[in-house]
């Protein structure tokens, strides 16, 4: 089943011809309308009219998240504000948020790609889509919402939280499709169980889960506990939002990137060289149809590999593997982006606390847990337990308030955190270890 069969099954040659045409036109546009790109292209010595083949993509400069921050809020926009109909932004947890703007056509494209993604996941018109992605500046909620409407399915705009109500609505409204983070789906199933409701008795048939890393084991767990077919969806607000890539329900072996709108590359994050098919590296995406904020070779920092092998579903679009990590040290904890540097800033703000800490992330009962280990030096040591406990509670509270993440602070002995000679290892992520 396809939403747009013609484009989803375009033969490779035609797809690449389309990509080249769109790439040229996009680069010509940003060269003219975005001073940042005009400068970057000139510096790289690439004029838009010198792009003759897709291989020329490798000559184009990269765009980094920092470039978006430096352009806050609108300096990367390629159209006048009067043509922008929607603005989204990342959480901005490391400072200013990254702001993205959409033209009417961008919203239409996004809706179509989300609709394609829904169909690829096994959803069809007539389905009742229970959308528990957050609505607001975050792209998840509205992205899935518009896609569901474009498909012609019924969408319940739940947003996140209020789990009891979510369960009641799912039961009473007969939701057949669930969209949320994978961990939240299991959390809901557990919460329902406590109320004496078995998710397997609900009408859910398909689950579309994304916005955080998850494993094959977790998929099996979800599929068993929720009695549905679970697929992985990928997206990021800088590029569009959810629906940049999705697994098809037929194969569930890698996520199809909608290549008529995005050109994916895998690079070695250290050397920046483009890696061949099958090799793990950082995903880099060039948007070739976006109007509001087109991006050239955006460094996603997500680590994956790519394959152009034909897929059982018939789609010709390349597939990327499940994300296996990040090339920077960003952590995604229950859907929230957390950089160790943010935790560090909070710790440094607490009087007497020394800059030796480590973040330990685990997945317990299907939920991410964050433990922050902080060394106790003489400056903060007290011979009274209550003072030390108040200190950890204070740090926990500040992290919760500033980053929106619940954590547990554990006080440890000085020098117990391994010192490294190079880059300090600040994160121990045990989530993907079986």
């Amino acid at each position: 089943m396809f939403f747009n069969e013609e484009f989803e099954t375009l033969p490779r040659e035609a797809l690449e011809a389309l990509q080249l045409k769109r790439l040229k036109s996009m680069v010509a546009r940003v060269e003219k309308s975005v001073p940042f790109y005009k400068e970057a292209l000139a510096k790289a010595g690439v004029a838009s009219d010198s792009i003759k083949s897709l291989a020329d993509l490798q000559r184009l400069p990269f765009t980094y998240k920092q470039d978006m921050r430096d352009s806050y809020p609108y300096n990367l926009f390629a159209v006048p504000m009067e043509d922008i109909v929607r603005i989204h932004a990342s959480s901005g947890t490391t400072g200013k948020p990254t702001v993205v703007g959409y033209t009417k056509k961008d919203i239409e494209t996004w809706s179509e790609l989300m609709a394609r993604s829904f169909v690829a996941a096994g959803v069809h018109k007539g389905d009742i889509i229970h959308n528990s992605y957050g609505y607001g500046l975050f792209t998840g909620g509205l992205g899935a919402h518009y896609g569901a409407e474009r498909l012609g399915a019924s969408v319940i705009p739940m947003s996140g939280g209020n789990t009891k109500k979510q369960i009641m609505i799912m039961q009473d409204f007969g939701s057949t499709v669930l969209t949320c983070t994978p961990s939240y789906s299991l959390f809901m199933a557990e919460a329902a169980k406590e109320e004496g409701i078995d998710f397997r008795d609900l009408k859910l048939r398909v689950g579309i889960f994304g916005a955080e890393p998850w494993s094959e084991e977790m998929r099996r767990d979800i599929e068993t506990k929720l009695n549905l077919s679970a697929v992985d969806i990928y997206g990021l607000s800088e590029i569009m939002g959810p629906g940049v890539a999705i697994e098809c329900c037929e194969a569930k072996k890698g996520l199809h990137v909608w290549e008529d709108h995005f050109i994916p590359e895998i690079i070695n994050p250290e050397t920046c060289e483009v890696l061949p098919e099958g090799q793990m590296g950082e995903l880099v995406i060039t948007t070739i149809t976006k109007e509001g904020i087109p991006l050239i070779r955006y460094r996603t920092r997500d680590i994956t590999s790519i394959t152009y092998e034909p897929c059982a579903c018939g789609r010709t679009h390349a597939r990327i593997a499940r994300m296996s990590g990040r090339s920077d040290d960003m952590l995604i904890i229950r859907g929230v982006n957390v950089f160790p540097s943010q935790i560090e800033a909070i710790l440094m703000g607490v009087e007497g606390v020394e800059p030796h800490y480590v973040l330990i992330v685990e997945r317990k009962d299907n939920l991410d847990t964050l433990e922050v280990q902080v060394e106790v030096g003489e400056n903060i040591f007290s011979d009274e337990i209550k003072h030390l406990q108040a200190l950890s509670a204070k740090i926990e509270k500040q992290i919760k308030e500033m980053l929106g993440v619940t954590c547990r602070v554990r006080l440890v002995e000085p020098k117990s955190i391994t010192r490294s000679e190079g880059k300090a290892k600040r994160v121990i992520d045990n989530r993907n270890k079986a």
Binding site: E378, F381, D383, R410, P414
Partner: protein, 143 residues
């Protein structure tokens, strides 16, 4: 009138307590008494030793977080109600006991309790006013 106590931060990890006592033993420091307060993550070992400065030095050298606190040693009649009496006196004056533990050796007919008060000086005044005998540090270190 004060007694010096050292406190050591110890993670709840296998062998840590043994290590602390071994370091002190090797340095020839004699532990007069101790108490261990713990939580699931860490413990605070409080010690009264015969040579506070030496103990502090060797432990710090080995990377431990150590602090020095002034506590008060009080003789308490070794009979039913002995401890209750002293606590009542403190309570009547609004003095808070942060923690307390027993000294291992008796002093004549009396037991010795180590107290950490929120207001040390006020506690000493109150107790001496009620004829409780407060032991100076030197007595304990060499007891």
């Amino acid at each position: 009138m004060h007694v010096e106590q050292i406190s050591i931060f110890i993670e709840n990890k296998f062998g840590r307590l043994a290590e602390v006592t071994r370091i002190l033993g090797d340095a020839g420091v004699n532990i007069r008494t101790l108490s261990l307060a713990d939580t699931s993550d860490f413990g605070i070992l409080r010690l009264i030793v015969n040579d506070t400065e030496k103990a502090r030095g060797v432990l710090k050298e080995r990377g431990f977080t150590v602090s020095k606190t002034e506590v008060v040693a009080v003789e308490i009649p070794d009979r039913p109600g002995g401890l209750a009496d002293i606590l009542q006196v403190l309570d009547a004056d609004g003095i808070n006991v942060e923690y307390m533990y027993a000294f291992v050796e008796r002093c004549g007919e009396n037991a010795v309790m180590i107290f950490r008060f929120d207001e040390t000086q006020k506690a000493i005044t109150t107790l001496t006013g009620k004829n409780f005998n407060i032991l100076p540090g030197e007595r304990l270190y060499s007891m």
